[in-house]
Amino acid sequence: MSSRTDFRYPEVVETPSRFRNPIGKYRLHRTDDCIGCGRCVEICPYGVHVAKRGVMLVKHAYRCVGLDCVEPCHKACPQDALSLKRNLDFEALGDFRWTADLLASNWHMAEFGRVPVAGLEYRTGNSGGGFDKLRLILPKGGSGAAPETGEREVDLSLELNRRNDGAHRVRIQLPFYGGGMSFGSVSISTMLSRARAAEALGTFCCTGEGGFPDELIPYSDHMITQVATGLFGVREETIQRVKIVEFKYAQGAKPGLGGHLLGDKVTPSVARMREAVVGYPLFSPFPFHSVYSVEDHKKHVDWIKAMNPKALVSVKVSTPTDVDMVAVGSYYAGAHIIHLDGSYGGTGAAPDIAKKNIAMPIEYAIPKVHRFLCEEGVRDKITVIASGGIRTPHDIAKIIALGADGVCIGTADLVALECVRCHNCESGRGCARGIATTDPELAGLVDQDWGSRRIVNMYLAWIEELVRILRRLGMEDVQELVGRTDCLVHLDYLKENS
């Protein structure tokens, strides 16, 4: 990896939706009374209106910020030919965790590489607890904009190896990397889009459990390969190819339950990769039947180190009551990274009962683990990665302030590729939008150049936002924020006098 200083983030390349009609919050209607004066084109700061051969068109209604607009076109129109309406499609989108506003703002970031200036709540969702009730405390006044001169750049990079044990030194250039999504659960274009974005941004992306497709070999220096309970696609050469190997003990979407790839998704290429039979469902059992103690777990870590002595080992676990003990046990077994996957995230198919009820949300687990590792005196020897419901740069800042070093992102990547969260990833031919599918026709809907640009853009917007937050906090390095709970308030406990 590059050193701390010589890395440069890529430039934003504006990358619009692959659909003709992007979904926005508002719709603008133009009547025949329009005389083509061009006033709307002139005043709209968002490029909603376009003049084409003397005719004014509502070309990009999805960019309209509606009631937040400082100079609304429908009021300025001399002919009263424009009317603003809520978009009913928008209201049919989204849920408590990923509101329509969050979806649309991540789409905006994936297109333009910056956060939406108005009209959309891009920082929090509507789940009524955890991240959505936590707020950052920032000093009044400062804009967080880049200073003219003098001050140092804000450093977002994160060293993943803190053990000094001779393994690779791996520094990622932003405090997040891509979570595991297997070949089979998502298409090869989706995997390549994510891998290319990870390379461009100087971070990593994980193969998930399902093998290491040859197409990803050029990105090996930016790939994490996963060893999970089914051991699908795990080979000596895949372990030796990478700098980071992840053991998946459990996953937040279905903690304590195995994985299940439906028969329909086991296409010939998936079956070959997983050394399985076409059309038959594949179960990843739960748990690793070779691990029933921390000592067994150490055996696992040693097994990887025998094959690839310089590899970093990440241990991905879920969030049970004794998550703190699991974390410290992983450290003593030799892990470099403890990756806690909270119960509300996940991208793959899972029983609804598991998603909602089993294991605790990440917002509770991270402070508990951080505190315990501190008390044990090993906090600075292991990297703590959080995942499971992290949707925005604000979520990242909040979870770092609660005690994580960095985070892992899954769903947001898919949203950048225009996932609408219809929750049908698992059914039939898979994702109708070509993201989570192995159906060749559907997978063709996502072009990897387009996909990687979208993900890069979204991450660039997140980076800008994180830098802005850190500047306002007066910090020069994202690691200064770790465990700084004094930078947070929870609205339910906000004292009245403050």
Partner: protein
């Protein structure tokens, strides 16, 4: 897997189209008649076999649409839209949410566990059972793989007088202590809901379901007529006070249910309904643990805590059922009588997770009432309470269909119970009772994690 752990489900199609969360609005006016219309490219082919259900005047598109938004986003004239269905929002109420009701419909139809992709979409937490999470095991504790049949997980529980010890006679035969125990393969007893547009034939359907599931069905005394004698071994008649119809039911049914007031009047258990062992129903009110102890002292060994329909205390809607169960459970432990008593709970048990959570709080088993009505497509609209017609004509459903839908629902719940227990590494439902240490409670976690995050100093603002 042994037969007793399996619930055989079989699709039981709906009679009425389920209400969907959103509908498709597709305008015809302005249509360009494109050679390759986006509607022909729907991967679910919803437009291909589009039809109007004349009986309900519902366009089949609404029910088949999978919300991928591809047609919405591709029509060159932007003529296709999705819109939230106001009828969906009107289903049920704040507790029996549209989400719960539609999920119960689909489980009753297919017998399958609800599975979906893309993470959890719901609120962070809520009241009652929504304010707790169940535990899971990893690395240092084994889980149990019950769902794929690789390990046996028993969901059976015992109801009745549990002796402190068993004795053997001179021939080495066991004494009679276990005669007062009924073992059911699911920690669920069915119960006729307090309202609904059902008939005696519907009750027969539910009795058939109880028999096939080898569990019990609590029915109002008046419904337990001789025509249901085939199912007598699975029925618990609920007897009104006064007078107790004890003599009539004696010996025929595994147990009877009486109200706490009748029980309080009896000198001791034997005199309440002679010859039959009794479930005593207590309205879940503040101070219930004291009343429960009084009944236990009189010899009653099966107590039923009856909460409100919304899973709360009857006299205080701000107190959840789970707290009432906990209070009684802990009191019984304190008094050293917990193992002699069977604690049943009811009221607001609406989802499979509620069964597991009620047990973790201390119940031995639960009564399930309204879900078996919702399984019959009930929308909890309560028109029947006002004497108006039922929109889905529950009263016309055949007993066989009623039984099938109820069995399917319980089959789906059984599998979900296996998921929760498997993740916890518990392989016997009797061990789930009172395992509060294997659960996480909002009231413990939230304040201890965030309670100190309330200071906003001068000169600072929130973002």
């Amino acid at each position: 897997m042994p037969e007793k752990y399996v619930i055989h489900t079989k699709t039981a199609p709906h009679r009425f189209e389920p209400v969907t969360r959103s509908g498709v609005i597709a305008w015809e006016e302005g249509c360009l008649k494109c050679a390759v219309c986006v509607k022909t490219r729907c991967i679910y082919h919803v437009y291909d076999h589009r039809g109007l259900n004349g009986h309900q005047m519902i366009d089949s598109v609404d029910n088949e649409c999978m919300n991928c938004f591809r047609c919405v986003q591709s029509c060159p004239k932007e003529l296709i839209h999705k819109s939230v269905n106001p009828e969906y929002k009107a289903v049920g109420d704040a507790y029996w949410t549209p989400h719960i009701i539609t999920s119960l419909w689909s489980q009753a139809e297919t017998g399958k566990i609800p599975v979906s992709g893309a993470g959890y979409p719901g609120p962070f937490s809520g009241s009652g059972f929504d304010a707790m999470w169940t535990d899971m095991s990893e690395i240092v504790r084994p889980t149990r793989d019950g769902i794929h049949g690789r390990e046996y997980i028993s969901t059976g529980v015992d109801i009745g007088k549990k002796p402190a010890c068993i004795t053997f006679n001179e021939e080495g035969k066991m004494g009679r202590e276990l005669s007062g125990i009924v073992n059911i393969p699911l920690p669920i007893i069915l119960r006729i809901p307090s309202f609904g547009s059902f008939t005696h034939e519907t009750v027969r359907g539910w009795a058939m379901a109880a028999k096939q599931l080898a569990t019990l069905l609590a029915v109002p005394g008046g419904e337990a007529g001789t025509d249901l004698d085939d199912f007598a071994g699975n029925l618990i008649p609920i007897l009104k006070y006064p007078p107790l119809e004890g003599a009539r039911v004696s010996g025929k049914y595994p147990m009877v249910e009486i109200e706490a007031a009748s029980a309080a009047g009896a000198a001791q258990e034997e005199t309440a309904v002679p010859g039959t062992f009794t479930v005593v129903t207590m309205a879940l009110e503040e101070g219930i643990e004291k009343k429960a102890m009084e009944l236990v002292k009189k010899g009653f060994s099966v107590l039923h805590l009856e909460g409100s329909r919304n899973g709360t205390f009857v006299d205080n809607p701000s107190l959840p059922l789970k707290d009432g169960i906990k209070a009684v459970h802990l009191r019984l432990i304190q008094e050293n009588v917990r193992d002699q008593v069977t604690l049943l709970a009811s009221g607001g048990v609406a989802m499979a997770e509620h069964v597991a959570k009620a047990m973790i709080c201390g119940a031995d088993a639960v009564y399930v009432d309204f879900p078996i009505l919702v399984a019959l497509e009930c929308r909890m609209c309560r028109r029947c309470v006002k004497g108006l017609s039922c929109p889905v004509r529950v009263e016309e459903a055949s007993p066989e269909w009623v039984a099938r839908r109820s069995i399917n629902l319980m089959g789906a719940w059984h599998n979900q119970l296996l998921e929760v227990m498997g993740a916890m590494g518990i392989r016997d439902a009797r061990r789930l009772r009172g395992e509060a240490g294997r659960a996480m409670f909002f009231e413990d976690l939230d304040e201890s994690t965030f309670g100190t995050l309330g200071e906003l100093k001068e000169g600072y603002e929130l973002e």
